[in-house]
């Protein structure tokens, strides 16, 4: 079956029922391996010592905070251009997940910053743009709650999501464009990673595990949103018949 056929709510529910158990199992296995590597299978850093272990949850959280917004931006295009029924559902399901991973990136970064930098927080470009991302997620969630009409809310949120997507390259390249306390790019850079493979293995395993978890949560949340809209529609029909 072509991939586009799954972009039908009923088919998507059948697809998620088949895929979720496998995805959950793969996530659990990879998470266990990743945690073992993070605590026992990787050495302490020569400068950071044991504190480097915070990186194994901070970096995946930061990566997912941006990936999630990317998913919402693609969904926003789907809402505005094709008015696809699953596009707004996907964006709405993704927003709380994005907010949660952004929150984790900020908190774990702060818990790393205190012992390493001597401060919980600095208003440098990377940290501030990540905080702006959290505020944007919360603002979009609030906007969905504030507008009763599904279609109108979807279009307004889609436009704002696309406007806000300018923040993603700012987060990514902030350490190159400005002089920040946050260290420069050390993984996905032109000259190759600056981190030793003994630590990169743990980091990539945790990134894969948390990305699988995110995928499972997103598929589950999209399914819930489809069911919620069905129930809302049926309640409105029932109310209409009574009235």
């Amino acid at each position: 079956m072509p991939l586009i056929d799954y972009a039908n709510p009923t088919r998507f529910l059948a697809f998620s029922a088949r895929v979720l158990p496998w995805l959950a199992a793969a996530t659990a296995v990879l998470l266990l391996v990743g945690l073992w590597l993070s605590f026992f299978g990787s050495p302490p850093d020569y400068q950071q010592g044991e504190t480097v272990r915070i990186m194994y949850i901070h970096v995946p959280s930061a990566w997912l905070s941006m990936l999630c917004y990317g998913v919402m931006a693609v969904a926003a295009v789907g809402t505005l251009v094709w008015r696809h029924p699953l596009a707004d559902v996907t964006a709405r399901a993704a927003a709380p997940l994005g907010a949660a991973f952004t929150f984790l990136a900020l908190v774990t970064g702060s818990l790393w910053g205190k012992p390493m930098w001597g401060t919980w927080w600095v208003w440098d470009a990377r940290l501030t743009s990540e905080l702006v991302l959290l505020i944007m997620y919360l603002g979009l969630i609030a906007l969905w709650q504030a507008v009763d009409d599904f279609g109108r809310a979807a279009r307004v949120v889609a436009v704002l999501t696309l406007v806000g997507s300018i923040n993603i390259p700012i987060i990514k390249f902030s350490v190159d464009w400005w002089n920040t306390l946050h260290q420069g790019e050390s993984i996905f850079r032109a000259g190759g990673p600056t981190i030793d493979w003994s630590m990169l293995t743990a980091l990539f395993t945790m990134m894969a595990a948390m990305t699988l978890l995110y995928a499972a949560l997103l598929i589950g949340a999209i399914g819930n949103e489809i069911l919620k809209r069905r129930a809302d529609q049926m309640e409105m029909m029932a109310a209409g018949e009574r009235g």
Partner: protein, 55 residues
């Protein structure tokens, strides 16, 4: 033991709690929506597409 153990434990604890909350949000949300749909169907309410299929 590292002098920064407290920071490491706190970071993993906050992450674990947040991820458990997300899993519960999705799992309990699915249960709640399915219960809503079952109750509506028990009251004889059908979706527009389902009503067309039975007509």
């Amino acid at each position: 033991m590292s002098p920064h153990t407290g920071f490491i434990v706190a970071a993993y604890a906050v992450t674990a709690v947040t991820l458990v909350v997300l899993v519960l949000w999705v799992a309990l949300g699915a249960r709640a929506q399915r219960r809503r749909l079952t109750e509506l169907e028990a009251r004889g309410v059908r979706r527009r597409s389902a009503a067309k299929e039975t007509a």
